[in-house]
Every structure is written in C-alpha cells, then in structure tokens.
Amino acid sequence: MKPAAFDYVRAESVAHAAQILAGAGSDGKVIAGGQSLMPMMNFRLVKPSVLVDINAIAGLDHVELNGSRLRIGALVRHFMTACDPIIAQHAPIVTEAMKHVAHLTVRNRGTFCGSVCHADPAAEMPMMTVLLDGRIHAVSTRGMRIIPIGEFFAGSLVTSLEPDELVTTVDLATTGREMGYGFHEFARRHGDYALAAVAVLMRREAGKARDVRIAVMGVGEMPSRVPAAEEVIEGNELCDAAILRATESLRTAISPNSDLNASADYRRHLAGALAGRAIRDAWSRAREAVPA
C-alpha cells in the first residue's frame, strides 16, 4: 500500500507542466486533488515515472461565466463548486448534483476537472459534463485543443486525453432561468459512489416539455444521455403515462453491470425509479419562457 517510486515536479505554470509532461514520454501523470489518483498509486494500479503537481499554478482555481459558457478551472475543488454563486445561478443542476459528491474531507481536495479526467462511470462531474455539452481544454507543448465531451470518454476510467496533455479548464453550457432541473441519486451510503443517478433538464413552451435532456450514470461504462427517453417527453405535456413510458424506454436503453453492490436488474429498476422522480422535479421547476 505504498506508491512505486517516481519523480515529482511542482509545476510553476501551465507551460512548465506541459513541458515536463512532454519530457515524460507516456508515463507522466498530473496530480491536482489526488483523491482518485493517490489510492490507485497506493495500490500500484498506476505507476507514473513523473508526477506533475499542478496545485501551485496560479489562476486555475476560478469559475467564470464566459458568454453562454461556464468555465471551471483545474483547481476548482468540490467544496468550491458546491457553493459557487455563478454555478448556482447559471447551472443549478450542478449545485444539486454536488450535494451527493463524496465526503467533507475529500471535497476539500478533489477537483471538478480531475474527476472528469478520472472518468469514473458513477461520478457526478463527468455526468454533468455530458449533460451540459461540456468541452475539455487540453494543453500540451503541441498547443491547446478543445475536446467535445462526445469525443472524450472512451470507457470506464478511459478518455481520449493524450498522456502529454494537461486539462486546464472544463467549460459547460449554462441553463436559462426557465430551464427546470431534477437530479436523483441512490448510493448505499450518502457520499459514496452512486449505484445509479439520473439528471433531467427541460423547459416549458405552451404547456409542453421542450429541450428535454436526460442523462444517466452508474449504469454503463460511462455517463450518457438517453435519447430514447428524451424523445418520449419532448414536445409533450407531462402526465403519469408519459413518465411511465419514458422510464420504460430508459430501462430498455441502458445496460448496467452486476457487481458486489448491486445486480444489473436492480440497477435497471433503480434508474427507472430515479428517472421518474427527476423528470417530475424538472417539470415542476420548469417555467414558461416569457415572450420577448
């Protein structure tokens, strides 16, 4: 339960970090909060040759509103995301989801961007990035590229990030005031990884649900949208029958795994139940857009 030997560099700037990663071949690893990486290093599941610590880099601990996008820097920790007023105003579903993230001491260190890079299929930050059309800003000595979330996750704990790239920012779509939201999660113990969770966004237009988004986590290799369930709700007035049809199509669309915490059947049932609650919450919070 001790990490294998490695070189350690405390990066002074993003450029410095990129330079060290470029020199590390494919064995470099970035550490921010370290709340997922350090356990893996203690188990020697991860054995980097060089560990690049970005905690001392100035300017990465901000949340900013840039037009219609929220920019979350690489050193924004979970406790900061959870109480950030810009996020609460422009993407309240993230604030809602953060209530389920880990425990107090882990929230002090863990970061939003780090969690997205870790790509745990049952973590809230990757799911929020999927739900809100996130983009990952990755810097290397070859320059900066912006990776749309659809091209980022490649499987459980696997992303398309190159080994020499450092994520400096994740940006997310904002949601307007009229956008209703719902987030429901079930974990065996509050703060533990979810057995399943469902997030829903929608607004109302002439009494019908519009711009419906439904995302799930914990029930597949990576968090994902569920277009089949979205289509059932989109353009319709919400009623019990529509919610039932949506939860049934969600259950059909997902393929959860069985593990020691829950069977696939149980997870499928749970995801449907959580989806029903999240859809109702989103509908009840949604407002009619005020005509200009």
């Binding site: 294998a4 030997a5 490695f6 425990h103 703060g191």
Partner: protein, 161 residues
C-alpha cells in the same frame, strides 16, 4: 524514477521541521515515521476510513492521499496539537464527556474532521452533523455518542457572541 530524497520544510502544530523524504513518501508516513507523531492513524491507505485525517493549511485532508513533498511549505495540524493528557483540547473533552470513543483507533481522524467542521462550516441539525462526519468510519460506537459530542460543540459555537 527516483528514490533520491529531497529536503522539505513543514510546520506541524506550530513547530517548523526540515525533513528529508522520497517523493513517494505519504504525508501520513512522514508524520509517523520521520516526526514520531503517531497520533495520526493509518487505516485503509486508500482514502476511505478517515483515520489519517489531518488539517492541511486549515482544511481537513487525508494524509494517506497526500504526498509529503506536496506539503512542502504547508501548515499542518495533527491530533497532537489538540491538547495533552492533562489538559485535553475542547473536542477531545467533548468526546470524553459523551463517551465518543471505545477503542480509539478512529478518534484522531474524527477529532481533526470535527475541528475543520467547527472552523469552516455552519451546521445545524443532526442530519447535517451526520453528513459532515460521513467520511470517518467508526466500528465501535455506532456513532450516537460521537454525534452527541459534536452537537454539544456546535451548540456551544452558536452560543458564542
């Protein structure tokens, strides 16, 4: 990859130390093996149990998920900074008054988490207290007496002008 040691400077419970550590040395091991501060307990070494919780620059952190080199220049507080057997710290006294421990293995981690709670968080009801303590595992007490101790500390803090 290197096992070459490097000098770091850390302030622990107000005392400055220069320590020579390998980059891979965990902060928990540095506190225990290099400084002899064995009050910080090592349970799971994967961030789950909370026994190794310390304060890093004023906020609680898992010392098993922190490298000693990362703490270079940092202010660290451990359970040894809370009080002495003759003059217990306030949180320690509350644990004693409410029978908040049995075997005591998890206690240093709880004490440090609660110190963070009292300094940096506004809690009111028992649900919030339990949620704030949920990252620390105790296999003896069933938590009831720990919650009693924290409730008293929270009330005491609220009563202060």
């Amino acid at each position: 990859m290197t096992t070459v040691k490097r000098e770091i400077s850390v302030t622990v419970n107000g005392l400055r130390h220069s320590v020579s550590v390998e980059p891979r040395m965990l902060l928990s091991d540095m506190l225990r093996h290099e400084l002899g501060l064995t009050g910080t307990h090592v349970g799971c070494e994967q961030g789950v149990c909370g026994a190794c919780t310390i304060l890093l620059n004023g906020r609680s952190a898992r010392s098993c998920l922190t490298l000693a080199v990362q703490a270079d220049g940092a202010e660290i507080e451990t359970v040894e900074g809370q009080g002495t057997p003759e003059a217990l710290g306030r949180v320690q006294q509350a644990f004693r008054d409410h029978h908040g421990l049995q075997c005591g293995f998890c206690t240093p981690g709880f004490i440090m988490t609660i110190t963070d709670i009292l300094r940096n968080h506004e809690l009111s009801g028992d649900d919030e207290i339990r949620e704030a303590l949920s990252g620390n595992i105790c296999r003896c007490t069933g938590y009831e007496h720990i919650v009693d101790a924290v409730r008293e500390l929270v009330r005491e803090k609220e009563a202060r002008p």
